[in-house]
Amino acid sequence: MTDSKYFTTNKKAEIFELKAELNNEKKEKRKEAVKKVIAVITVGKDVSSVFPDIVNCMQTDNLKLKKLVYLYLMNYAKSQPDMAIIAVNSFVKDCEDPNLLIRALAVRTMGCIWVDKITEYLSEPLLKCLEDEDPYVRKTAAVCVAKLHDINAQMVEDQGFLDSLWGLIADSNPMVVANAVAALSEISESHPNSNLLNLNTQNINKLRTALNKGQIFMLDCLSNYNPKNDRKAQSICERVTPQLSHANSAVVLSAVKVLMKFLELLSKDSDYYNMLLKKLAPPLVTLMSGESEVQYASLRNINLIVQKRPEILKQEIKVFFVKYNDPIYIKLEKLDIRIHLASQANIAQVLAELKEYATEVNVDFVRKAVWATGRCAIKVEQSAEHCVSTLLDLIKTKVNYVVQEVIVVRDIFRKYSNKYESIIATLCENLDLLDEPDARSAMIWILLESFLEGFHDENTQVQLTLLTELVQQMLNLATQDSDNPDLRERGYTYWALLSADPVKAKEVVLSEKPLISQETELIEPTALEELICHIGSLASVYHKPSNAFVEGSHGIHRKHLPIHHGSTDAGDSPVGTTTATNLEQPQVIPPQGDLLGSLLNLDLSLPVNVPQVSSMQMGPVDLLGGGLDSLVGQSFIPSSVPATFAPSPTPAVVRSGLNDLFALSTGIGMAPGGYVAPKAVWLPSVKAKGLEISGTFTHRQGHIYMEMNFTNKALQHRMDFGIHTPLAIHTPLMPNQSIDVSLPLNTLGPVMKMEPLNNLQVAVKNNIDVFYFSCLSPLNVLFVEDGKMEHQVFLATWKNIPNENELQFQIKECHLNADAVSSELQNNVYTIAKRNVEGQDILYQSLKLTNGIWILAELRMQPGNPNYTLSRKCRAPEVSQYIYQVHNSILKN
């Protein structure tokens, strides 16, 4: 008779019946009843009501029954913590049972009862079990420490459980060692700051000797260690390499992880380094013979390894040939790896295969194969011709989805202009087949591009017609007929640009396109490094940084590849090269999604900064310059005080927008200081594909600065980010990393009136897209330091300003006295005089804006009344409103 009968007997009124059976005299009957209860749980029904009856069955010498009862407790203890306490005695007793299986069972179960109250009773028996004579109990107890830490971390640390765990690492039994290490690393992972797992030399030695026992956890643990010199690293590597021969693929991957990390520390010229590289290839190849899920995990990791160190597998490209019965996810992954491995030496073989794949049945796979062919053309320059002819053959098949992938042809054009124009004819024949937006826009790009190349040869009339047609029609269509705000906005931008300054417009729109890099679709180097440190884990399978996963509820600790300090030059360290490569490397192809972006944005240059245009195109990213925006009518533009191009004192491009009120130069440098508003989020990450910008304005030494903080909230690693002119951040912005930037602002140049007056529109561009945001700049940054008026002048001016220019405001809920107020306002708002009239404090203040406007204020305060009255007099009354806001925000802070 099988156990499935327990599933069928559960009919109505069962709870009542079960209760009766559980209290039956006969042992056998009780056991049957408990089995039934477990069966009911398995089906997913609630049987928490029999809890007391189950606890009664706990006192038994029958192991099987005990297991079932404990299983029940694990399921329901959390929902009935009070009842669980009843069971404590039994746990404590079982922990001393002569039968080791029962001891272990009790230890295992009590950790799974997630009830805080119960833990204090358990620490003593647990300590005892950690020193049990039997290793089976010890190994279970070791895991229980980790469980306990999850419930009550403080207790584990206080009662010395961690020392016991370290003690167990030297245990004679491999299982105990493995569990102890696993428990320790689990604990340290959830508490990154507590430094529990201090990997000092002594502990590392312990781990190293234990290496043959419980490999995976040991290896994972070792990979967190940063040896001080290459000798130490080498000695660990020597211990780890034998593990590459382990039959378990997870062990192999963990060993690869340790080796990949420590390779960074070894000197590149040493024999050992090269030998190690050779040793890594065969195990990686063997991983391909596992089950498909294991293969998938391995392939994702190999993808990372290949990007980091292509030399390891460069001979092994044949392993990544696709087999007919591979699941699709493996096929796609293999294809990806092969693009990374493609080189002059093997390109013929690769292309022949790709062509073969392009005739397969699975659409996704075929498309990827076509796309890969195009990528090969870009990557292996010498064989571009071969690749292009392969592509042509494919296009001629006229299979719809194959032709759609001509997007890659666009990139080929960008890389090798004027070389493969012959494709265009073939592409045109298939124009009707293109129905996907990406493909169509790529096609338009290709056509226009080739057309414009011949532009100068056409006669004037043709040129004119073309120009009018294209520009007029398109702009009309875009600005008037379109419902899409992005489209309209860009239309207006160009329109304004054209009407204001055609020469600049030409520079903007027709400037050189950045080159297409041969290395495509790469993971950004620092992100790659972090992923390498997580080989084998989910992060490496997703290719997402580990902090995208919940690391307990605690902080995040990031891992980096160590940097080699040896004799080799600094260029070896991947971190060191980042900046350089970013400057030198040509632009990576933007995601396929934004053709418009690649058409227009990439080519934008800051029109006013003529001398800088050439250098701008080099840089990976540029701040969509102020010039452009200003033409459309914006108030402040970040000035181009050259941050990276020091010797060019470019004319300031910044304008202030307060009509022409502020269009005067700032004056003398004066005492620093002044009120600085806390940073506010200007551009939330949701709107800017993960880029978050927060900022504020300051006034220092007579200059206005825009303090910005850029944070990459995206999970993508390719968030290479930088502001170019007037300011460059050349370091790539890692996920969750932020950078502080101080952007000097200037108030020169033509201005336009904005609504509201202190509105500042800013455009930021990175390699993903251009983002616009606007922020309100508080007026206090415009207060200049020489705003103190003479007594007499003040009185005269006060009288001179007509009364209709006086505005009154209430400042509410402010609990400062007169002196405090005047000191609070010490940032360029000057108190001229203080009077006490009828119990009221009256402050007379003056301040001056950058453009020379004086504002006079009278502040009335009644002690005990938190509401102040602010009267303002100014020749330009529209400013007053903002001054009030400033007062309000300063005083309330």
Binding site: D220, S289, E291, Y296, P327, Y329, N362, S537
Partner: protein
């Protein structure tokens, strides 16, 4: 670090049994799994890793559960579907209700099928192919459980997959078959096993031989008062129990080499590798120390015997009993073996060898009328050797009918459910060349689907022969009682993943 919970699901995604190891993932999250799976499948973006919010599902499918005894079916190209439907049929038979089946990556194409049991012996199916058809016949099928592990942390993915496969292996050894019924029948043991296999997300003992020592189906064994300690769990040598006794001490060594081959349509070899395994059957008393000597090139070079014929092993993997550091030092393979059968080691060689059985084929398809196939097979190995059980499977279009064959040796058979002709040759001596011709009719109305071009597959076995030339030079057996033990060695070469693409 590892899995938070493990679920075994039935085909509809309902949990059959589950175990929560860490309590950091709500068990109800599993409800998201199946919809996610279906959605990804429709998008064609199925991967062994799915995630829903912060929960990640790592899943594998225990797939070798299909055993089909079909009778006649008029539309052969829907064979894959009908098999799948039949899987559902067994479930739906009694219940008479609609249910959904999922096809994924089992070689039957991908898609989703809806099925309704119309009568006791009739099933109506609507699927991706949007046709209605009925199947008659009896089916004996089991359902496929999915094993899913969830985690909310940055777990070690390959560890989890290895663990899941191990779990299935253990269940299979306990219950012979892993299926819905066997899990229900043994739910108490399944719980016990899940308890022993993993603790707090850390894999524990996963060796079924050892587990069977203290977790038994006959529960009364342990009930007899005193506890029987499972010594092997706690031994320093966790894979061997003490006190084993045999009258006759023997070791059987099987050296098995599989040849993986991938040849493209124009006959050039893309990939050719040899994967070898050495399997041991150990009947030895006590705690013996074993040392295995091979003609390993690295070893020969170390010991200065490089003139002798040797083999360069490219990547060697060992059973956990082998002392890896010792091998790394001086290439000595030394170990204390587990009792009974086990795989001692595996190795790989990518040295190019002449394909043992070479196939040339001409497949001519005349649309709307016929397919003509000519296959030539040549044994490219030593004349003294003979390949046994040769099976050459040649793909044919799924809508082909009325087969006719002519073979110079052996027999050919049409297997419609796999869309292949299988040409079997019982014994195939080296150096010989054989021919097979096949002729099929094609319907005048062509079906719409584009078919893939499956490769020609070859299966064979050549005894007393290794392609690589590997040899067991000695097997030293030392036990403190000093008995004499005999090692026996067998060699065999067989086909692995042996594919030749067709044009």
């Amino acid at each position: 670090m590892s899995a938070s919970a493990v679920f075994i699901l039935d085909v509809k995604g309902k949990p059959l049994i589950s175990r929560n190891y860490k309590g950091d993932v709500a068990m109800s999250k599993i409800e998201h799994f199946m919809p996610l799976l279906v959605q990804r499948e429709e998008e064609g973006a199925l991967a062994p890793l799915l995630s829903h919010g912060q929960v990640h599902f790592l899943w594998i499918k225990h797939s070798n559960l299909y055993c089909i005894h079909p009778t006649w079916c008029p539309w052969r190209w829907v064979w894959g579907l009908s098999a799948m439907v039949a899987a559902q049929a067994k479930r739906g038979w009694a219940e008479d209700r609609s249910c959904t089946a999922h096809l994924c990556g089992l070689g039957w194409g991908q898609g989703q099928v809806e099925m309704r049991v119309v009568a006791r012996d009739r099933v109506e199916v609507r699927g991706l192919y949007s046709i209605y058809f009925a199947i008659n016949g009896t089916f004996s099928l089991t359902l496929l459980p999915l094993v899913v592990a969830t985690t909310s942390k940055n777990a070690n993915a390959s560890l989890v997959y290895s663990f899941l496969y191990k779990t299935i292996e253990v269940f299979c050894e306990y219950f012979k078959e892993l299926e819905e019924e066997s899990i229900r029948d043994n739910f108490v043991i399944v719980y016990e096993l899940l308890d022993e296999l993993m603790d707090f997300g850390f894999p524990q003992t996963t060796d079924s031989k050892i587990l069977q020592e203290y977790i038994t189906q006959q529960s009364n064994k342990l009930e007899t008062g005193k506890s029987r300690v499972p010594p092997t769990v706690t031994n320093a040598v966790s894979w061997r129990s003490e006190g084993i006794k045999y009258k006759k001490n023997e070791v059987f060594i099987d050296v098995i080499e599989s040849v993986n081959l991938l040849v493209n349509a124009n006959g050039s070899v893309l990939l050719s590798e040899i994967v070898g395994t050495i399997k041991l059957k150990v009947f030895l008393s006590g705690m013996p120390e074993l040392r295995l000597g091979l003609n390993d090139r690295v070893l020969f070079e170390l010991t200065g015997r490089s003139k002798n014929k040797s083999v360069e092993l490219e990547d060697v993997k060992f059973h956990q009993c082998v002392r890896l550091s010792r091998f790394d030092n001086d290439r000595t393979i030394s170990f204390i073996p587990p009792d009974g059968d086990f795989e001692l080691m595996s190795y790989r060689l990518s040295t190019q060898v002449k394909p043992l059985i070479w196939i040339e084929s001409v497949i001519e398809k005349f649309s709307h009328s016929r397919v003509e196939i000519m296959v030539k097979a040549k044994g490219q190995f030593k004349k003294q050797s003979v390949a046994n059980g040769v099976e050459i499977s040649v793909p044919v279009p799924s809508d082909a009918d009325s087969p006719r064959f002519k073979t110079s040796v052996g027999s050919a058979k049409y297997v419609p459910e796999k869309n292949v002709v299988i040409w079997s040759i019982k014994s195939f001596p080296g150096g010989k060349e054989y021919l097979m011709r096949a002729h099929f009719g094609l319907p005048s109305v062509e079906k719409e689907e584009v078919e893939g071009r499956p490769p020609i597959g070859v299966k064979f076995e050549i005894p007393y022969f290794t392609v690589s030339g590997i040899q067991v030079r000695y097997m030293k057996i030392i036990e403190k009682s000093g008995y004499q033990a005999l090692p026996w060695v067998r060699y065999i070469t067989q086909s692995g993943d042996y594919q030749l693409r067709t044009s």
